[in-house]
Amino acid sequence: MDFDFSDDQEQLRDAVRKWVDKGYDFERRRAIVAAGGFDRSAYGELAELGLTGLYVSEDHGGMGMGPTEAMVTMEELGRGIVLEPLSQTLIASATLQTHAPADLQAAWLPRMAAGEAIVVLAHQERGARYQLNRCAALANESGGQWSVTGTKSVVAAGDQADAYVVPAMANGQLALFLVERSASGVSTQAYGTQDGARAAEVVLNKAPAQLITLNGLVALEEAVDIGIACVCAEAVGVMDKTLAITVDYMNTRKQFGVNIASFQALRHRVADMKMQLELGRSMSYYATLKLHAPAEERRRAMARAKYQLGVSMRFIGQQAVQLHGGIAVTDEYIVSHYFKKLTQLDMTFGDTLHQLGEVSARMQETAGVFA
């Protein structure tokens, strides 16, 4: 039982933080949002730091790191509300590495690690909300070649990615496929999301596909759980920075002749924000450290963690806006962008209500960190 970071992990944190502070300031972010919400060169800078290969084994040109390093990285990207979806790269690379045949791994993992190829998870469908076992997309095999037909919604950077990890029903069973964006029968309709990033509807019409695994639900649940751990860590970074910005503001903004930080009604809100931040941070650690637990235990842990983070994000986001007052509802001021990021993260990989239902359904007689 030890929650200290190793020296290597601290160095990784410093490196990412330095890049966010110096290389990804608010003005650059604003320009990227205006240009569509995704910047390939910024993504390339993440690759230069080695982050796109964080989960990729050294054999395939990556860093072969684990969940704690992913958490540290995502926290720091959260502090800078970075738009480029590194979490998608972490999900896709881990999924391929664990479940894909060797030739598929060899074809994609080195290019993903180098930042040359972007692969994202395209799993959401209009009829399924957050349910992973509901899938309308169909896969067919003919002459040894798979193809997938269906529509996937709100796919991160969907018109920028080079390929998708796609769940589809194959002979009545959920399977996972890799579909290239350049393949025939693939069309995208891109748009901005709440937080200023980019997503797309991805329509697959008999699109050629490569099988990752026929054991698709297991793999998809793992993929989403990696995503939940990423989102939890990212949320901690966003919340940490949101609170810091709010504290700075309260210590400089004057009303009635004094700093508004002197008012007890506001101070107690800050104490409650600190509570939600630390509960959230604790549960982000918990999610990360449970990623390699047996499936049932892991799923229960992720639901608990994401529920807590959902509660924490909503509270901290809303309170930060309220404590700032009018300035916080302007587009010009930074805190509105943190608020929107927090709102979006709650609805990513299962919102608070969905996760509460998961916790509720998975309850056992005993409960605790180790049960």
Partner: protein, 393 residues
């Protein structure tokens, strides 16, 4: 980063688990698991069993006869006791006054007071709050006047928990009115058999007399009962608070009570009502999050590496959780938590409890009783002031 306890820590836990299983009297643990009324004898019996083993002062260093456990070992000990259904050790002797005596008392005082605390023979009470001094404790007025080799104590303490059983009481008393209120306070140990002391139990909303008023009318206290220096008592009391970091969250008991809540909800037929069950689920997440918070504080104590500003959150969250599980248990029983039959809260009562399940008898009383948790030990609003101070400056 690692969630697992070390093999040594797990072996330690097994050792504790076995010992508690072999030594905790079944009649006591049954009462605790059913939240039935505990008598003075129940509490004292368990304290003396621990005392005989040398574990009543489980947080004590070896030089004072304690086991010298690490922060993690203390936590595991508390967890095993709580999960097995041991009564909460009355903290005033072994947890609260003993560390102050060790840190600031002289050798004579160590010899005189610590053995009786370690064995569980002597029942200690706390004399801090006064009718006019609650959250603003430093405004206390109980006066101790030095006359020759004695102090003459006059005044009134209140909310003295289980003071009706108290044999000794440690008090904060005013020895000076100069300067800031905090600088005129001394830490005095008083024999409760002294002439001039009157103890009057206060009946509370749950029908129990858990707390007392204690009056001091020209009570003579030998000057050798002063801990440390005169007018430094406030600092000693603050030291005491530092000894109560993770213990105050009481997360281990919360885990046990969550299990009881689920049992009650099943018995009352509301466990499958999703609206009710979701409330249990929220509490479950709260408890896991609190446990993680506690483990983070323990880890920081273990490594001494990172300074954590989160210990102040433990009391707030822990107390809110205590209130919540008692509230949900009562709500689970619904109308059958309304009958308030004082004797039915005693183990072994033979009457017919309305609604048929005697397990419901103490639920309302437990809920009423737990309202204290967000008030005592520094109200949660005072705690928020402290947390805000660390964040905002």
């Amino acid at each position: 980063m690692d969630l697992a306890f070390t093999p040594d820590e797990l072996a330690f836990r097994d050792e504790i688990r076995t010992w508690v299983k072999d030594n905790l009297p079944a009649d006591i643990s049954q009462k605790v698991h059913a939240a039935m009324r505990l008598t003075r004898d129940d509490m004292q019996r368990w304290a003396k069993i621990l005392g005989k083993k040398g574990w009543l002062g489980w947080g004590w260093p070896t030089q004072f006869g304690g086991p010298g456990w690490t922060a993690v070992q203390k936590h595991l000990f508390e967890e095993e006791c709580a999960l097995a259904g041991a009564p909460r050790v009355v903290p005033f002797g072994p947890v609260m006054v003993a560390p102050v005596i060790m840190a600031f008392g002289n050798a004579e005082q160590h010899k005189r007071f610590l053995p009786g605390i370690a064995s569980g023979e002597v029942w200690w009470s706390q004399g801090y709050s006064e009718p006019g001094s609650g959250s603003d404790l430093a405004s206390l007025k109980t006066r101790a006047e030095r006359v020759g080799d004695k102090y003459i104590v006059n005044g009134q303490k209140t909310w003295t928990t289980l003071g009706q059983y108290g044999e000794w009481i440690f008090c904060l008393v005013r020895t000076s009115t100069e300067g800031k209120p905090q600088t005129g306070i001394s830490f005095l140990l008083i024999d409760m058999k002294s002439p001039g002391i009157t103890v009057r139990p206060i009946k509370l909303l749950d029908g129990e007399c858990e707390v007392n008023e204690v009056w001091f009318d020209n009570v003579e206290v030998p000057a050798e009962n002063l801990i440390g220096e005169e007018n430094k008592g406030w600092n000693y009391a603050k030291h005491l608070l530092a000894h109560e970091r993770t213990n105050i969250a009481d997360v281990n008991r919360a885990k046990r009570e969550l299990e009881r809540l689920k049992r009650i909800a099943k018995a009352e037929g509301v466990y499958d009502d999703l609206r009710f069950r979701d409330e249990i689920a929220k509490l479950e997440v709260d408890i896991v999050a609190l446990e993680m918070l506690v483990l983070r504080v323990l880890s920081a104590e273990k490594s001494g590496k990172n300074s954590l500003d989160i210990a102040g959150l433990l009391k707030i969250k822990g107390s809110e959780i205590q209130q919540r599980y008692t509230e949900l248990m009562m709500q689970a029983a619904g109308p059958f938590a309304l009958p308030f039959i004082f004797e039915a809260m005693d183990a072994g009562w033979q009457g017919n409890f309305p609604g048929g399940v005697v397990a419901n008898a103490p639920l309302a009383a437990n809920y009423f009783n737990m309202r204290k948790t967000t008030i005592y030990g520094g109200s949660n609003e005072v705690q928020r002031n402290i947390v805000a101070q660390t964040v905002l400056g």
